[in-house]
């Protein structure tokens, strides 16, 4: 019974990890940028939610659209006016650029939002669905569903809309896409905007279950890393699966081996997948595989 509870906990946690990973994976798959500032961008969403809650008591779930839109704009601008300037450079140059951005954003938040740990506790926090001995906290369940809905919506967007198709086309072959009239600068910006927006939403949800401060940005990015590697780059359903796997692996290893080993196991798993199946558990040959 405890085992079942642990697995359920893992799945609920995994939903959140999936959402963190989706945006990261999308940006990486399409623009070939490993965005080390992903966690910091997610925290921008978290702070927006926090201040809306504190100042006008806006429920975190209701601030999701606001996070989405404002962080989308932020990400769009960032890609359009900064990242696009170096996007063709060697990969470690991009890596350092986003790390520089991370340092900047984290310190910016520390300066203006302070290094205090914040958390949002709405009145319904702590209520749980109890089935026999199994306890399912409503907030975590709701967070889980929001994450899954976003994942599905994202997948539909990429498959069904013109913009989505243009993004996919660009990720497959940027030159061919250009020749069919797609402006990659714009597509990259939209992709980065979307990735950031989803990160922002995950930041919003983060406020409900944890305490956050600018200093946790790096940890969030690392989770996004693992999720995208597990699932395969640029694949929404892959990131969803990767998130769930990571959640369950964490809680299970914590239960079976010991809480303090869970990070080691999560990272070990990532390295293993990289070595054995670099395209990810659900990855197919194309997308990022061809790009080095």
């Amino acid at each position: 019974m405890v085992l079942l509870q642990v697995i359920i906990n893992g799945l609920l946690l995994g939903g959140f990890y999936a959402l963190i990973g989706i945006g990261f994976s999308l940006v990486w798959g399409v623009t070939n940028i490993i965005n080390l500032a992903h966690g910091a961008i997610a925290l921008l969403g978290a702070y927006l939610t926090y201040y809306l809650f504190v100042s006008i008591q806006l429920d975190p779930f209701l601030s999701i659209p606001l996070s989405f839109v404002s962080i989308f704009l932020f990400g769009y601008m960032l890609q359009r006016f900064v990242m696009n300037l170096v996007v063709k450079a060697q990969i470690f140059i991009l890596l350092i650029l986003t790390f520089g951005l991370e340092i900047f954003l984290v310190n910016f938040m520390t300066t203006f939002f302070s290094a205090d740990f914040r958390s949002v506790t709405p009145s319904y926090a702590g209520e749980s669905l109890v089935i026999g001995e199994i306890v399912i906290p409503y907030i975590r369940l709701a967070v889980f569903f929001v994450c899954v809905i976003f994942a599905i919506a994202m997948g539909l967007f990429l498959d069904k809309t013109w913009t989505g198709k243009a993004i996919k086309a660009t990720s497959l072959d940027i030159e061919a896409a250009m020749m069919s009239g797609i402006n990659p600068a714009k597509i990259y910006a939209i992709t980065f905007g979307l990735g950031s927006a989803i990160a922002g939403v995950s930041g919003t949800l983060l406020t409900l279950t944890q305490a956050f401060s600018p200093s946790i940005a790096g940890g969030l990015t690392l989770r996004a890393f693992i999720v995208s590697i597990l699932g395969g780059l640029g694949r929404i359903e892959g990131a969803l699966l990767g998130g769930l796997i990571l959640g369950v692996v964490e809680t299970l290893s914590s239960y079976l081996i010991g809480e303090s080993y869970k990070n080691a196991i999560a990272f070990g798993l990532m390295v293993l997948v990289l070595v054995l199946k670099p395209s990810g558990l659900m990855g197919r040959k194309y997308y990022a595989e061809v790009k080095h």
């Binding site: 906990n9 949002v120 702590g126 749980s128 944890q210 305490a211």
Partner: protein
């Protein structure tokens, strides 16, 4: 190009220009003003600044009939102990400062005190509680925090003789230096008091999920749950304890309940949680500079528009003790005399009655226990400083 050269020369000369003027007593501090310890570092700095203003308003530190204006040189160690060590070396060798006010954080104090010791400078610190600091036979390090292994003693003490009786205890801790020592001490103290430790488990520093640990604790159904970690994990733990309906008689934390953000973050869920405190606003101690602890609190609120906590009070207290020792020693630069004055120190300050043992750590100060009652923290233990009686056992989650 010319302008660049001029700029470089200017900045270099600025660097060397920082020398002490006559009639000034200069202290140095390398604190974490950015990075992961920025919050605590800034609070300690606030404490130092408040003390400086208070002393200078009174005309400065009086040594040998002469008044010296206090000046403090600050550097930011970016929450990196190595950088802290480098900056303390800068304070000592470049700025020629030998009176060092400590940084916040055990790692930082650890690294920087090695430098002060090497150069024969002296450090008084109100920012680190690790026992390990005092096992190195250092002569020139004095600390006013009750050490980590004694952190939980008073919470456990508090449960004695209460009914219904608490018999089992679960201890979880973050696997960093400070928290591990706290947990070790808590375990020892619990066993000494006849409690059975049914769960003892560490978790990675800064973890984002503790559900597995909590499910396991639930299986043990302990009377007392003690969390030895930091603010972030404490919040996660409270939220998840409530999620999974774990209801101990006592829920106590080493770090968290004493910080104002605790109630802001958790709202009603913070109710009745215990916390160990180096210091609280309501302690009734006298103080040589501010008059009393209450006066200190008032001055702090006036200057910073917020309540002080034990970080800032620790900063102020460390500086006050430093000042009193210098005045007693009758010298602003004879380190041996100042050290002797600190070794024999025995005075009441806003932080409590301060005495140091031969290793430089404070003795007999003890910890206050606070409980969140009605959305504010109340000092509930020990009895002679308590504002009100503790609520025991803790009511179930709403």
């Amino acid at each position: 190009m010319k302008r660049i050269i001029i700029a470089v020369i200017l900045s270099i000369s600025l660097l060397f220009a920082v020398t002490a003027f006559a009639e000034e007593i200069v202290f140095g501090a390398a604190l974490s003003l950015t990075g992961k310890l920025a919050k605590e570092g800034t609070l300690v700095k606030n404490g130092y600044e408040l003390w400086k203003e208070a002393v200078n308003k009174k005309g400065g530190i009086k040594v040998g009939g002469k008044n010296y204006t206090v000046k403090i040189i600050y550097y930011d160690d970016e929450s990196d102990p190595n950088r802290g060590a480098k900056l303390v070396e800068k304070l000592i060798t470049v700025d020629k400062v030998k009176l060092i006010l400590g940084p916040y954080g055990s790692e930082s104090v650890f690294a920087t005190s090695a430098i002060t010791e090497k150069y024969g400078a002296i450090m008084v610190q109100g920012g680190a509680a690790a026992d390990k600091l005092y096992t190195r036979n250092f002569k020139n390090l004095f600390g006013i925090y009750t050490v980590a292994t004694e952190y939980m003693d008073d919470i456990i003490e508090l449960t004695k003789g209460k009914s219904p009786k608490s018999e089992t205890v679960a201890i979880v801790y973050s696997n960093d230096l400070f928290s591990t020592e706290v947990a070790k001490g808590a375990k020892r103290s619990a066993e000494k008091n006849g409690l059975k430790v049914v769960f003892y488990q560490d978790y990675p520093k800064g973890t984002q999920d503790l559900s597995t640990v909590i499910v396991q604790i639930k299986g043990k159904n302990p009377d007392i749950i003690l969390g030895c970690g930091h603010f972030q994990d404490t919040i996660v733990m409270v939220k998840q304890l409530k999620d999974y309906k774990v209801n101990p008689k006592v829920l106590g934390f080493s770090v968290g309940p004493t910080l104002p953000d605790f109630v802001n973050s958790l709202k009603g869920d913070a109710e009745n949680i215990f916390g160990s405190a180096q210091w609280t606003m309501t302690l009734k101690y006298k103080d040589p500079v501010f008059g009393s602890n209450q006066e200190f609190v008032k001055a702090y609120k006036a200057k910073y528009k917020e309540d002080p906590n034990y970080h800032s009070a620790g900063g102020t207290a460390a500086a006050v003790i430093f000042q009193r020792a210098i005045e007693k020693a009758g010298s602003i630069d004879d380190i041996a005399k100042i050290r002797a004055a600190l070794s024999s120190f025995n005075e009441e300050t806003l932080y409590g009655k301060i005495k140091f043992d031969s290793t430089g750590k404070v003795t007999g100060k003890g910890m206050a226990v606070v409980q969140i009652i009605g959305g504010t923290q109340k000092t509930v233990f020990p009895d002679y400083v308590a504002e009100t009686k503790p609520i025991y056992p803790k009511p179930q989650w709403k």
